[in-house]
């Protein structure tokens, strides 16, 4: 019997259920007896059932009261018909258009110019900078076959001449996930330069995140070498499933981490688990290009919250953030106010 699905229902779930609503509001329909049937099946829930019934009843009345008046309906209809006529007659006066032959000639010229630029190498020269804007995550294949996913508001620059050099070198700002292809023949190294350490690679998959003053390197597969800028520190060889955390003077290596957590942004989310509340705010500002204004004090619960926030959709971010931190957010233009 389908009644069993209502067993663990709370008042709110019941009121949101279309079948339940139907049985309350359209007693002549076939679902008439759902309410009575539920009463018989779960007599202990009598109070809940009657509460849900009240809720359905009041909510429906509220919506019915919002129905527009007949004048409004006629009003808008007449406006539409009238405006439609006006716009139709405007349409017949066509705006300025390119003469057919002129258009063909112009597009042909453009095509030639584009092809020339492409084949003389202009295209390749210019394309050495890979860049993403706010809330954009993009995959790029570098000339050597290495696949890079760039997180929002990040950039990757190819250094030197990739056609000839033994070394493949890039400079990263922001965050990226690398799948480096191994060069069997030349054993050419792949080097990622960051504000923190430089990362030397043979062939492997890893994530690099350079935040303000902090660099996180997560190695999923293979082997990489970290070379600090200060010559005092020895180069560090990282093993699989390790996380290196470089801050101003400190260096921390953690083993046996869960790579998926650091790759969440590839699916359009980022984990707040490792971040302080301030860092979460900074990340939101960086990813979405918004300003965040705190109008409440940060409490303990907020600094230890665990979860993931979306990076692709500001509206979804606001909803999830409100739920995760139990706050209200008001948006005005490019600023989010946390209240």
């Amino acid at each position: 019997m389908r009644l069993e699905k209502y067993k663990d229902f709370e008042v709110e779930d019941l009121a949101l259920d279309p079948d339940f609503k139907g049985s309350i509001l359209r007693p002549e329909s076939r679902q008439t007896d759902l309410y009575t049937a539920l009463l018989e099946r779960f007599p202990e829930k009598q109070v809940d059932l009657s509460d849900a019934r009240q809720l359905v009843f009041h909510l429906e009345r509220q919506y019915q009261a919002q129905r527009p008046s007949a004048e409004d309906k006629l009003d808008v209809y007449q406006n539409i018909v009238q405006l439609r006529q006006e716009r139709k007659s405007q349409k017949s006066r066509k705006p300025w258009r390119l003469n057919g032959w002129l258009a063909v000639a112009a597009s042909f010229l453009l095509l030639i110019a584009g092809a020339a630029w492409f084949f003389t190498g202009g295209f390749w020269q210019e394309n050495r900078l890979y860049q993403t804007t706010y809330s954009e995550v993009a995959d790029y294949t570098l000339p050597d076959g290495t696949v890079v996913s760039l997180n929002a508001n990040s950039s990757l620059k190819l250094m030197g001449d990739w056609g000839k050099a033994e070394q493949r070198e890039v400079r990263l700002e922001g965050e990226a996930y690398f799948k480096v292809t191994k060069k069997e023949a030349t054993n050419a190294k792949f080097v990622v330069h960051t504000n923190g350490p430089d990362i030397e690679v043979l062939g492997t998959q890893f994530n690099v995140n350079t935040r303000a003053g902090r660099t996180l390197v997560m190695l999923e597969e293979g082997k990489i070498k970290l070379i600090s800028k200060s010559s005092v520190q020895e180069p560090k060889i990282m093993k699989e499933r390790q996380l290196a955390d470089y801050q101003a003077q400190k260096k921390l290596i953690r083993s046996d981490i869960d790579p998926a957590k650091y790759k969440l942004w590839l699916q359009g989310y980022f984990s707040v688990d490792e971040l302080s509340f301030d860092e979460v705010i900074a990340e939101i500002e960086r990813v979405y290009g918004v300003k965040v204004q705190l109008e409440i004090a940060v409490n303990h619960d907020m600094s230890i919250a665990k979860g993931a926030l979306p990076t692709q959709n500001l509206e979804e971010l606001i909803l999830t953030f409100e739920t995760l931190y139990n706050v209200a957010i008001a948006q005005e233009d490019e600023t989010l106010y946390i209240r």
Binding site: L16, K21, R30, R61, P68, D72, I80, L319
Partner: protein, 220 residues
Amino acid sequence: MEQPAKQQAKTARKAIDQEVWLRYQAEGEDAFPGLYEAFFDRLFIYGCNIVSDESFVKDAIQEVFLKLLERDPKTLEIQNISSYLFVALRNYLRKTAYSNANKQRHQELYVERKEKIELPQDQKGNELIPIDILKQKMDQLPDRQREILFLRFFEGYDYKEISQVMSINHQVVRNYAYRGMKRLRRNLEGVFHLFQAWVPLIFLFSASIEPFAKYFLGLI
């Protein structure tokens, strides 16, 4: 046993929408009155749950329909006409409300309405909470919760469909629907109990001062 009934009810509403839409596609502008009739009220109520300015909602609906009329219906590939119209209205309202030209007029997207709305009594005499208080309680919900409640409760959309209209994750939608309903329930409970407790008191009060009133009036 309920399953076929539900399927039927759900597809019945969709089937009517679909029929109206197919007729419009086949007959073009001649079938527009039918389309308008089927959707104006629903769009209006939906709009009023996004912004509080009714004339703004009317303008928006007008633009949405005009946009639709400008396009050749045969080239439009629309799976679900109701969600197409809801999305169009929603986008228009949000875009216009946030745009600079309208900034002053609609600074606050949704302002609680104060004026009283009249509604004839329910045939069972069920009028317990005045409709303006109900409206006020509804206005206290966060914008998105109110929007989700409308699509879920009034339109009978499932969470997937709502998530497509509002372009947010369907888990978030479910969560918000529940929270909206919970909040509404809490708000209403306060009023409800207050109301039930006060109504007899008012009668009692008026009854008890009646003799005195008569006495004093008699003196004058």
